[in-house]
Symmetry: C2
Subunit: 228 residues, 2 copies
């Protein structure tokens, strides 16, 4: 079973880094905010979690997640936006969120919700698109006349809020936050920071030109924090 | 006397932020790495520090610092590079460093040195040029044909090390490090992070166009950490 969730995760450049900061899941109650296809839920279940709640607002994604997870008894999926989710106080040991919180307008609101839902010494581990990556908004490289990448643009850094970008022809709305909002927001609200990591592609992926270019800009940020 | 050091500090856009994360200096022994003209040393002395050591490798700067500080009995100035400095273990309560550590090749070496020199629960507060600002190397805005700023370039982010830029016609050598190197380097080596702040210009300075543009990119990073 281990292989099943890993296949979905291994394609993601940041998985090898995220995996290193995940806690021991044995007998833990786990919440995954923005669970998508449920890969991280399955990973937690495979590693001994006693209860796993995956939350996503996409019914289509949850359908896929459910079809993949039917063998994993501890997992339940709940359809909800992260903003509207209601949680019982002190009911989780671990809250995960992989590349979802940059779609949410207020990080502080989420962090407060997670804080309340975690037991004491509970852990919050999340990845988001890096503030340097979300600031300008287009999320596109600057190219020269010959079609070569020149650099990545940064602009409007301290102007937090809505950004629109295109992904495969679809308009995507994300919310830029500064690094200060993520990290100092946690520090000022009772969290202890355990790890702050900007994942870079593993060397095994560097033959892929697209992955190689990801050494030129920070695209993601991984944060592990403990409620205290 | 308060006014004297403040005048030098008030011109710096980040001072109002740095000041907020400084500890109570009363009866504290303080080390300032890269003290320059000694403004922060004087500030610590004015606020009750019992011993202040300012270290800089520039004899010219130290001359100025000494001439400004002659009334401040607790301050001593030492000419040394940060790398070559030898410190007695557990001899300081507070170590400061303002915009100096991006000139030093290895942050980890400095952090280890500071860790050893601090007493238990001692504090390390530093500002550096922001990794997003140091990555590409030129430290210059990209302008369009009309001479307007388009954006700020990021490149070579995960390629740490030497960068050369120009400042008033002089070649300046700095050393780019990732945010991960600064923050996770501390977290993995026994530090507790207290604050991580990207200062933006105070509103009183935003009428100045150059300062206003500093809302478009993160230029500095302020970190406060405790040895534990």
């Amino acid at each position: 079973m281990m292989e099943r969730s890993q296949k979905g995760l291994a394609g993601a450049g940041e998985w090898h880094t995220l995996q290193q900061v995940l806690p021991d899941f044995k007998e833990k109650s786990v919440l995954d905010l923005g669970c998508g296809y449920g890969w991280h839920c399955m990973y937690a279940a495979e590693n001994g979690a006693s209860k796993v709640i995956g939350v996503d607002q996409s019914s289509k994604m949850l359908e896929v997640a459910k079809s993949k997870s039917y063998e994993y008894a501890p997992i339940q999926y709940v359809q909800s936006s992260i903003e509207d989710l209601q949680l019982k106080p002190k009911s989780f040991d671990v809250v995960l969120s992989s590349l979802a919180l940059h779609y949410v307008p207020s990080f502080n609101d989420v962090a407060k919700k997670v804080y309340d839902a975690l037991k004491n010494n509970g852990q919050f581990i999340f990845s988001v698109e890096h503030p340097t990556f979300t600031a300008e908004g287009s999320q596109e490289w600057l190219y020269n006349d010959k079609g070569m990448i020149e650099h990545f643009p940064v602009d409007r850094y301290f102007e937090e809020g809505r950004r629109e970008s295109n992904f495969l022809g679809e308009k995507i709305v994300k919310y830029h936050k500064t690094l200060t909002t993520y990290l100092n927001g946690l520090l000022e609200n009772g969290w202890v920071l355990n790890r702050v990591i900007e994942p870079s592609p593993p060397s095994s992926m560097l033959l892929n030109e697209q992955m190689y270019n990801e050494l030129r800009r920070p695209m993601m940020l991984i944060v592990a924090a403990t409620k205290q």
